[in-house]
């Protein structure tokens, strides 16, 4: 049984300024954002509302109504940081907290509510604590995520509860827009008189889907809990990053490397301290003239040393055109993994692994990690499926390569090449392949292979022949039995 608590923070941008003690928030004040090509009011103080302003007014309109209005643009980065801080606080309510960006939190409170004396008491408690922090919140509790969100945003009271198992009844009176549908769909629904969620529940899903697309029926199913829609908890992973902004842009490669080295030192120090290493590092460079550039390098093994990082970034930095210089650098460690220290000085196996890993990193960073590969075996009797290639960065498994019992060519062509038989025979006595005429000196075969019928694909039997030609090359010829006249192909060549 899932119970979801949705916390909506409708005035988050304004509350952030209130918390900061901004004196303007005690008067005619509004927070603005750019919406539909105009700067519009998104949040306003109670005084501004009393003066006759509403959300959504553009600034010139608002100034015409109320010339003394003070405004401040919203700051999504800082608001997101505040939301993350609140998510950490929400840990006190439930261990499963998800961000509902930009202005909400979702909590899976199954089994938690009784600790606060019931769901209503829990909401009261949370609202009280948020009010202490000078943050306005509205809450909704329901069996599903979207129903809880709808109740928090469109419920009649600041705290709206849907009793267990009666979610659809609780939200049926809410407007269709509460389901977080695209504006266009909501407008279309309104045009044909479908205003509430309850009206939508009354219509056959197939008809809704035909007219409005699967998006609408999916949303309805999610709100009723017919499809699973769990709360994916937000994990506060520590971020290993460092940044440096400079008063003046720098452009010399040596200076940039110096900055990188300092950033790497800071990041690596923290990584080492936690016994972690990162497989990928990203360096954001803000150039004065051409905006932000994101460079990234990868490593085969988790890396926590400064020198390899600087070394691997040398090439991407070299490729970057720093004509007018850059003034902001940020280094982030991605794919952070624990490092395993190993015993040194006993055997050189580990060293050899390290050396190889370093080459793979160097090559992979330049030509792409998908172009640096290793072989793996596969259990199949078809020659082309006996092995496959994986990226060399993929974790090593301790697998052993057993010798195959049958002779296989060293070069196996991905697509067998058709040959032209000059003198018939089985295999042809002489044939032309790649512009050259070959004469069969001796042949060994056929080796008949059945298709893997349990897989889709080529379902023909195959006969393979090892052919020694008179002039040297040893070829692997392929024919499909049952075809008349027989088609012959060169499937590969032996060394």
């Amino acid at each position: 049984m899932v119970r979801v608590l949705s916390i909506w923070l409708p005035r988050l941008p304004l509350d952030r300024l209130v918390r900061r003690g901004d004196p303007r928030t005690d008067g005619l004040f509004a927070v603005t954002a750019e919406i539909r090509k105009a700067v519009r009011i998104t949040n306003l103080t109670i005084y501004a509302r009393e003066a006759g302003l509403t959300e959504g007014l553009s600034i010139p309109d608002a100034r015409a109504i109320c010339p003394d209005l003070l405004t401040e643009p919203c700051d999504p980065m800082r608001e997101a940081a505040l939301l993350r801080a609140l998510a950490r606080w929400a840990d006190s309510l439930s261990p499963r907290v998800a961000l509902d960006a930009p202005d909400g939190l979702l909590l899976d409170i199954a089994g938690c509510a009784h600790l606060f004396g019931g769901e209503t008491a829990m909401c009261d408690h949370a609202r009280q604590r948020l009010a202490d922090m000078r943050i306005t919140a509205r809450m909704g509790i329901a069996d599903t995520k979207s129903a809880a969100r709808a109740l928090a945003r469109f419920g009649k009271t600041p705290i709206a509860l849907a009793p267990t198992g009666r979610t659809s009844d609780a939200i049926s009176a809410l407007p269709a827009a509460a389901l977080d549908l695209p504006d266009r769909t909501v407008a279309e629904l309104a045009r044909i008189g479908l205003k509430t969620i309850g009206q939508l529940y009354g219509i056959k899903a197939s008809e809704l889907a035909r007219r409005f697309g699967l998006e609408l029926t999916d949303a309805l199913d999610r709100s009723r809990g017919h499809v699973p829609d769990p709360v994916a908890p937000y994990t506060p992973d520590s971020i290993f990053s460092a940044r440096m902004s400079l008063p003046e842009p720098i452009g010399y490669l040596s200076d940039v490397e110096d900055v990188l080295r300092r950033l790497a030192r800071s990041v690596c120090h923290r990584l080492r301290h936690r016994l972690k290493g990162a497989r990928r590092f990203e360096l954001a460079v803000r150039c004065v003239d051409s905006g932000d550039h994101l460079l990234s390098v990868g490593f085969v093994k988790p890396c926590f040393r400064i020198d390899p990082i600087v070394q691997q970034f040398a090439r991407p930095l070299d490729d970057l055109k720093l004509e007018f210089g850059a003034d902001l650098f940020r280094l982030v460690a991605r794919q952070v993994e624990p490092i395993r220290f190993r015993q040194t000085r006993l055997g050189d196996r580990g060293d050899a692994d390290d050396h190889l890993a370093r080459v793979i990193s160097t090559l992979g960073n330049r030509i792409g990690f998908d172009h640096v590969r290793r072989f793996r075996t596969h259990d199949s009797h078809l020659p082309e499926r006996e092995s496959f290639q994986v990226e060399a960065v993929a974790p090593q498994t301790d697998h052993v390569w057993h010798r195959r019992r049958r002779k296989r060519p060293l070069r196996l062509f991905p697509k067998p090449e058709r040959l032209r038989a000059l003198e018939p025979g089985r295999p042809p006595q002489s044939f032309e392949w790649r512009g050259q005429t070959h004469r069969t000196a001796s042949a060994n075969g056929p080796e008949r292979l059945a298709p893997e019928w349990w897989r889709d694909g080529d379902a023909r039997l195959r006969d393979y022949w090892r052919v020694q030609t008179a002039d040297g090359p040893r070829l692997w010829l392929l024919t499909y039995p049952g075809v008349n006249p027989p088609d012959w192909f060169v499937a590969g060549r032996f060394p």
Binding site: V372, S387, A441, P495
Partner: protein
């Protein structure tokens, strides 16, 4: 004065002498200096390359274009050596091939680097590879499928399957900067179940 210059020469000789990283000997006759670039041509060039790679210890890097890499069949590589030792690099251009080859040769702990090219390296390219190979003693093999050019490679080989019916190859040394030329008939020792390495059984000097 003269005494000092002799000493200096000795030092230079010690650090720059061709055999600084040792010599790989296949069978009794084929000698390939480590830390150098060697070239292979012919229909069975890959067999030569694998025989060399198999007799060295350590990881092997094989660089080639997409069709070369896609057609390499590890099941047959297993007859020579453990395919897990092999790392393959799919390069999209000749330039990338050479760059990867240089980086791989320069790296520590790599035993052998095989570079598949259509046309052989010229003097400048092979010189660069040569300098890279000298650094840590990796053995570089350039497999040439079409024309060879004048290069700084130490030796050049021609390997073809022999035409007289048995599983054997003709290896011919067509260029050797510090040694003799020669031709050898190479056979596959051991039975079908356990051939592990190519051995030279007979030499027919030209």
């Amino acid at each position: 004065m003269s005494r000092r210059s002799i000493l200096l020469q000795d030092v230079l000789k010690d650090t720059l002498c061709p055999g600084r990283h040792g010599v790989l000997t296949l069978g009794e006759a084929v000698r390939l200096t480590k830390g150098r670039i060697h070239e292979v041509q012919g229909d069975s060039a890959d067999c030569f390359a694998l025989a060399v790679a198999a007799s060295l210890r350590g990881p092997v890097i094989w660089i080639g274009s997409a069709p070369d890499i896609a057609s390499l069949n590890p099941s047959a590589v297993r007859d020579f050596m453990d395919p897990l030792r092999l790392t393959v690099i799919e390069a999209v251009s000749r330039q990338e091939c050479l760059w990867s080859g240089e980086q791989a040769l320069r790296a520590q702990g790599i035993a052998c680097v095989v570079i598949e090219l259509a046309h052989g390296t010229d003097l400048k390219e092979s010189r660069r590879l040569q300098l890279a190979a000298e650094e840590n003693g990796a053995l570089g093999l350039v497999m040439i499928s079409e024309h060879a050019r004048t290069s700084a490679a130490e030796t050049r080989w021609r390997c073809d399957p022999s035409a007289d019916g048995e599983v054997a190859w003709d290896w011919e040394c067509t260029k050797n900067r510090k040694g003799e030329l020669g031709a050898w008939r190479v056979k596959w020792l051991g039975d079908d179940d356990g051939p592990s390495i190519v051995h030279l059984v007979a030499t027919t000097a030209t």
